[in-house]
Every structure is written in structure tokens, then in C-alpha cells.
């Protein structure tokens, strides 16, 4: 029996997963573990970029019909290096550099899906998807319905979404609400590496059009990935939110990068005795209303947090659903939204910083809702 410093007990033959940080700091000594017949698995730190890369690599290997196309995905290794190494490994047939013609190559990708392939169509950023949005909505999303089930469209559209750093108005828009509006699409928005890996695998294996909204500022952020997550068949189910932090006083619902801000705000608020429950949506459409409602029914308070604009946005939808469902009766205060500022994104750093939700905005809103 191995007795750990924190009181945990491990019988021989088991596996323990340790965050890399703790292992490196010597909390668990490998020699003790080995002598007790335990296999120690140190969770590697994997950043979101590498998680996406590994997910694509594994799915390309698993299914010959999967291929990737987009600008600079092959020889450049990806504009944001998400597809690094894939062209070298899989070659021209399966990793295809396209000209700068979104409407054309998105249409080609959808047509390839019609004919039985499983394309991953990358938009360098989701801002450029507007050039191709007709193909995403009218050709991809609606076809299974219009054909009464005769023509499935197994395609993934992916790329970075939302604000970045200093790229100004035309390159900073969040499209979660735009695509989340449309029946026939699944829309996912991962936050951390586990989300990125599991949701991308799920999206590629899904027989339907999936809009996969990444975040450029998250690409370089590392997270521990447990052994389970690193299994080749690990998928995160589309349509299920995850409670990242349990709490009792207020529910914070968020997606993508803002989930991290919510957790940071929750740490600060915890010092003042406010325990926030943080819900990571993971999927925009279909929205996991059950998880949101269960949380609100427990805490009685709701703040949604998103990077996109407020009008007709993700937060607006969440509030409307809560109003219309059983959780309304449990609200002790109106639900509110924390969002990006309702302006095109400015360039100057001070202006940009004030255009997106900051941790202090979340804390302020929580206190307002809790009447503190």
C-alpha cells in the first residue's frame, strides 16, 4: 500500500495520475511508487494548439476519408501552427492548401462531404467565414433536412473565433451567436485542451456539419491532460456542458476563453466568501439547458459571460431559456449578461482591453446580482 503525503492510499497495481507540476516538484517520488507496484502517470502539459493537432492527427490516421483543407494548412504548417507536421505526415492528398477563395473552397469541402468524404475545412479566422457563410448555412446545414434524410453532410468547419490581440475590428468578431442561431448546425466552443481534443474528435466523427470555434489566445495555454483524455477514442460529447467549479451562491455560465476568466473571478470571490459555480458550455448548439437549469436551481443567481456582442447573443439566449423554464422560479435576482462591449473592436491596447469582459467586470456583476 502506498501512503501518499495528502493521505491518499493506493493499493498495488493501480494507476495514479499526477499533474506534471506536482511530480516535478517532488511531491510524489517515482522510486517509492515503483517499489509499491504502482504505475505513475504524469499528466503531460498539453497546450490547446497541440491538443487540436493531436486530435486531427489521430482522426486522419483512423479514417482515410478525413482530410483537411484551408489556407496555409499544409506547407506553412497552419497560419497558427495548429496543423503543424500534418502535411509532412499525410501529404498533398489529405492536407490541401487552398487559394484565398473561401466561398469556393468551403463549397468544395461541402461537396466532398456530399460525396462521402469527411472534410475538415479550416477558416483562417471565423471572420473570413462570412465570405463563405452561404455554403455553411444553405449548402451544409440545411441539406439533410431538405433532402428528408437522403443527403448527410459530415463536415467540420474550424478556426479561431472572437477577439485576439491588436488585430482590430475586421479580425475580432465572435460568431457563436451567428452560427448558434441555425438549425442543422452543431456549434462547439472549447475552452481548454481537454475540450479542444475531445470536441474536435467528436466533431470529426459526427455525421453532421459542426462549426468548431477555437480561440487564438488559448492556443498557447497549457493544461494537464489525464491518461483517459489521451486515449485515442476519447471524445467529449457534443451538447453537454461541464461544471468546472462547484459553488452554491451564484452560477456563472460561459464558453471559450471567458471560462478561464470566470474561474479567476471565482477564486477572488471565494476569498470574500462567495462560492461561484462555473459552467463551461463547451457546446453552443445544442445548448445544454438542463445543466444550466440545475445549477441555477441550486444557486438562485445567474450571470452569463461571453466575449461576443450583447445584442441577440449567447447570453441573451441563456437568459431567455431560463426565463421560460423551471429555473425561473428559483431566481432570487434577474439574470444578467457580461459581454463584449457593443462596438467594433478598436486597435489601441487600452481601448481593446476595455472592449472585452475583464475579471473585474465579472466580479462586479456577481456582487450586483448578489446585492453585495
Amino acid at each position: 500500500m502506498l501512503h501518499c503525503w495528502d493521505g491518499a492510499r493506493f493499493p498495488p497495481g493501480g494507476t495514479i495520475s499526477i499533474p506534471a507540476k506536482e511530480f516535478n516538484l517532488g511531491f510524489i517520488r517515482p522510486v517509492n511508487s515503483v517499489s509499491h507496484g504502482l504505475r505513475v502517470f504524469t499528466c503531460p502539459l498539453v497546450n490547446v494548439r497541440d491538443a487540436l493537432n493531436q486530435a486531427m492527427d489521430e482522426e486522419l490516421e483512423r479514417d482515410e476519408r478525413v482530410f483537411l483543407l484551408g489556407e496555409e494548412v499544409a506547407q506553412y504548417d497552419g497560419a497558427y501552427k495548429v496543423s503543424r507536421g500534418l502535411w509532412k505526415k499525410y501529404g498533398d492528398k489529405r492536407i490541401i492548401d487552398t487559394p484565398i477563395t473561401e466561398m469556393g473552397f468551403a463549397g468544395i469541402a461541402v461537396g466532398a462531404a456530399f460525396a462521402g468524404l469527411r472534410p475538415i475545412c479550416e477558416f483562417m479566422t471565423w471572420n473570413f467565414s462570412m465570405q463563405a457563410i452561404d455554403q455553411v448555412i444553405n449548402s451544409a446545414a440545411k441539406t439533410y433536412y431538405m433532402s428528408a434524410g437522403a443527403q448527410p453532410v459530415p463536415i467540420v468547419f474550424r478556426g479561431p473565433n472572437g477577439s485576439s490581440a491588436g488585430v482590430a475590428a475586421q479580425h475580432s468578431q465572435c460568431f457563436a451567436a451567428w452560427y448558434g442561431h441555425c438549425p442543422g448546425l452543431k456549434v462547439v466552443s472549447p475552452w481548454n485542451s481537454e475540450d479542444a481534443r475531445g470536441l474536435l474528435k467528436a466533431a470529426i466523427r459526427d455525421d453532421n456539419p459542426v462549426v468548431f470555434l477555437e480561440n487564438e489566445l488559448m492556443y498557447g495555454v497549457p493544461f494537464d491532460l489525464s491518461e483517459d483524455v489521451l486515449q485515442k477514442d476519447f471524445v467529449v460529447p457534443i451538447g453537454k456542458a461541464k461544471v468546472e467549479r462547484r459553488g452554491t451562491h451564484i452560477t456563472l455560465v460561459s464558453h471559450s476563453r471567458c471560462v478561464g476568466f470566470c474561474l479567476d473571478a471565482a477564486s477572488v470571490l471565494a476569498k470574500e466568501g462567495v462560492e461561484c459555480e462555473v459552467v463551461n458550455l463547451r457546446t453552443i448548439r445544442p445548448l445544454d439547458v438542463d445543466t444550466i437549469e440545475a445549477s441555477v436551481m441550486k444557486t438562485g443567481h445567474l450571470v452569463t459571460v461571453e466575449g461576443g456582442w450583447p445584442q441577440y447573443g449567447v447570453g441573451a439566449e441563456i437568459c431567455a431559456r431560463v426565463m421560460e423554464g423551471p429555473a425561473f422560479n428559483y431566481l432570487d435576482a434577474p439574470a444578467v449578461r457580461v459581454t463584449g462591449v457593443d462596438i467594433p473592436m478598436p486597435y489601441a491596447k487600452i481601448l481593446e482591453d476595455h472592449s472585452v469582459p475583464q475579471i473585474k467586470d465579472i466580479i462586479f456583476s456577481v456582487k450586483k446580482v448578489l446585492n453585495m
Binding site: G104, G107, I108, G111, A115, P119, G149, P154, N208
Partner: protein, 382 residues
């Protein structure tokens, strides 16, 4: 002008058989094709067997009568919404199919009823789709512009969007190495769409097995080609892509050109572009009488001098490949088929309300769909 472009020459073949025997096959002179970036084009003659002739005749007549019946049903308000009829253009759909096989692929825009038929749909299910019934080819969910069969990807409502889709299908053919090709059709109106030029570029770069076909019926809705296009030589608009301009009223011309184009694709040379010069008798759609931007005289002249069905009929009769009675019998059989289909299409029940939310996602668990009110909870199944 239209007639200059669509004149036909039927050559006489001396038949040594008695009038009781039919000529089993005959060779006809067909109009020379205009070439762009091609040294040689399709042959100047086409051989037609009696079987082929009867098949083409029957199929074209079926399309013709089906479209006229749709016109009737639309005026009776049994068909609603958009209805874009194909009568006059039959030689295109039938000739193209004569040059490829059903294991090849095809995609077109919204004037799609004729192609739905040549690609394996039945008149019954096409008409029942137009009337929005559960027996429709898309179970009433799609309507006139959204009909699909195996290797036929519609029926597409957004002008020009079908062209990159077709290139994607062609990419899949090349990827899977199956020696198949994709025919991607669009009209003179769509020919100026940017996404088509994007598709020309990528298809050529990647040598995709795609035949671009522009069905030039002289009018994009109410806008004549002179008023929409700085260059009306649509067969040259592919620039670096070889092109052919073909008499689209002659089913044999279309067939030979399609065979030529298919050989080009299958030999790995990449895309090729065909412009079919054709004509629609109806307006753009059933809401368009079709005479505010063109004259009745023009329509009548095409009908009397270049009708594709008459042209084939004359050829077959004057070469003793069929008798008038035989063709009349086909007409009667077609009429009956259309009547039966119309009967079905007007009596089949509408789709069940349970079907409202189905077919959102493929291969998924059933899930809840919000109805018009928060209390209306509907279910979607795959």
C-alpha cells in the same frame, strides 16, 4: 439570332429495308462545335440506334409533359412557391445523361425537374414533391428546388453555389480513385458569379474530373445575356479551361459533346467547360409570364424551328427508325404516366406533423426541438 445558333441538319440515310422493317441505326451530321483552347472537338456525326432514339424520345417527352402538367397544377394552386420549368431544354438533360453513366455525378441549380428524372427519379415522386406530399422524392420537405437521387445532389436554390459543390464531388471522385466524374451545371445568369471563377481556378489547379456546363437559355430571369454579361461567350469564360459551345437543342450534339468532355476528364486532363445553347419556353418561373423581356414571336419561332423533341422525331421518321403510330403510342403512354403521377400527387396525403422536426441531424439520438412557444416541445429524429 437564336435560330441561327440552333439550326439543325438532319441528313438522309438511304434505307434499303422495306417499310415494315425499321432502320436499326443511322448516322447524322451534327452541327460543328465552337472550340476554345482545343485542337479537336467532338465528331461531326453522331450515330443513333433505334433503341436510343426511342429512349431519348420518351424521356424528353416525359419531361415535356411533366413540366406542362406542373404548369397546370401550379395555376390550380395545387403547386405553390417557386416552380422553374424546363420545357424547351429537354435535349440538354437527356443528351448529357447519354454521354455519362449513372455512376457519374451531377449537380444543377433550381431548374431541376428534368435532371431529377434523368438521374433516376420517377415522375410520381417528382410531382408529389411539387405538391408537397409525403410520397414526394424529399417527403415534401424540399419542394421544387430540393430534389435528390443517388449521385444527384439537387436541386440548389442559391445561384452559383452548386458549382463549387460539384467541384467538391469531383474532388471526392479523384480522392477515391473511382474514375467517376461530376457534371456541374449553371445558367447564363449564374455564369458571372465569383464563386464559379474560384471553382474554375481550384478545379484546374488540382485537375479535378469536373465538366462545367453552362445552360445558356439567353435569359437570366428577365435579363438577357447582352444586359448581364460583358462577354457572352460563356464557353470561353473559363479562360485556361478548354471550352465547347454546343447546340443545346439537338440531343445528339449534346450527347457527343458530353462524351468528348467525359473522355477529357477521365484521361486526367482536368476540367472542361461546355456551353449549351438552349431555350426555355416558360418564363423564369411560374410567376413570370416570360413575355415582358422577350417577344412571343421569338418563343414561337424557336418552338417551330428548333424544338428538341420535334427534331428527334423528324430524324427518326425520315430515316424510318420508327413509325408515326409507334411514337404516338409513346405519347399516349407518357400522357398516362403523367396523369397517374398527377393523380397520385394530388391525392397522396401531406407529410405527417410528426415529420416536422425530423431530418435535422443524421445518425443521432432523437432530441427535443423548441416549437413556436416555450410549451411546445417537439421531437426530432434522424
Amino acid at each position: 439570332r437564336v435560330l441561327e445558333l440552333t439550326g439543325c441538319a438532319a441528313s438522309m440515310v438511304a434505307s434499303s429495308r422495306s417499310y415494315a422493317d425499321f432502320t436499326p441505326e443511322a448516322t447524322f451530321d451534327i452541327k460543328k462545335v465552337d472550340l476554345h483552347r482545343l485542337e479537336e472537338g467532338p465528331p461531326l456525326t453522331a450515330t443513333l440506334t433505334r433503341e436510343e432514339g426511342l429512349k431519348y424520345y420518351r424521356t424528353m417527352q416525359t419531361i415535356r409533359r411533366m413540366e406542362l402538367k406542373a404548369d397546370q397544377l401550379y395555376k390550380q394552386k395545387i403547386i405553390r412557391g417557386f416552380c422553374h420549368l424546363y420545357d424547351g431544354q429537354e435535349a440538354c438533360a437527356v443528351g448529357i445523361e447519354g454521354g455519362i453513366t449513372l455512376s457519374d455525378h451531377l449537380i444543377t441549380a433550381y431548374r431541376a425537374h428534368g435532371y431529377t428524372l434523368t438521374r433516376g427519379g420517377t415522375v410520381r415522386e417528382i410531382m408529389a414533391e411539387l405538391t408537397g406530399r409525403r410520397g414526394g422524392i424529399a417527403k415534401g420537405k424540399g419542394g421544387s428546388m430540393h430534389m435528390y437521387t443517388k449521385n444527384f445532389y439537387g436541386g440548389n436554390g442559391i445561384v452559383g453555389a452548386q458549382v463549387p459543390l460539384g467541384a467538391g464531388v469531383a474532388l471526392a471522385c479523384k480522392y477515391l480513385g473511382n474514375d467517376q466524374l461530376c457534371v456541374s451545371l449553371y445558367g447564363d445568369g449564374a455564369a458571372n458569379q465569383g464563386q464559379i471563377f474560384e471553382t474554375y481556378n481550384m478545379s484546374s489547379l488540382w485537375k479535378l474530373p469536373i465538366i462545367f456546363i453552362c445552360e445558356n437559355n439567353q435569359y437570366g430571369m428577365g435579363t438577357s445575356v447582352e444586359r448581364s454579361s460583358a462577354s457572352t461567350e460563356y464557353y470561353k469564360r473559363g479562360d485556361y479551361i478548354p471550352g465547347l459551345r454546343v447546340d443545346g437543342m439537338d440531343v445528339l450534339c449534346v450527347r457527343e459533346a458530353t462524351k468528348f468532355a467525359a473522355d477529357h476528364c477521365r484521361s486526367g486532363k482536368g476540367p472542361i467547360l461546355m456551353e449549351l445553347q438552349t431555350y426555355r419556353y416558360h418564363g423564369h418561373s411560374m410567376s413570370d409570364p416570360g413575355v415582358s423581356y422577350r417577344t412571343r414571336e421569338e418563343i414561337q419561332e424557336v418552338r417551330s424551328k428548333s424544338d428538341p423533341i420535334s427534331m428527334l422525331k423528324d430524324r427518326m421518321l425520315s430515316n424510318n427508325m420508327a413509325s408515326i403510330e409507334e411514337l404516338k403510342e409513346i405519347d399516349i403512354a407518357v400522357r398516362k404516366e403523367i396523369e397517374d403521377a398527377a393523380q397520385f400527387a394530388t391525392t397522396d396525403p401531406e407529410p405527417p406533423l410528426d415529420d416536422l422536426c425530423s431530418h435535422i441531424f443524421a445518425n443521432d439520438q432523437p432530441f427535443e426541438v423548441r416549437g413556436a412557444t416555450p410549451w411546445t416541445k417537439l421531437t426530432s429524429t434522424s
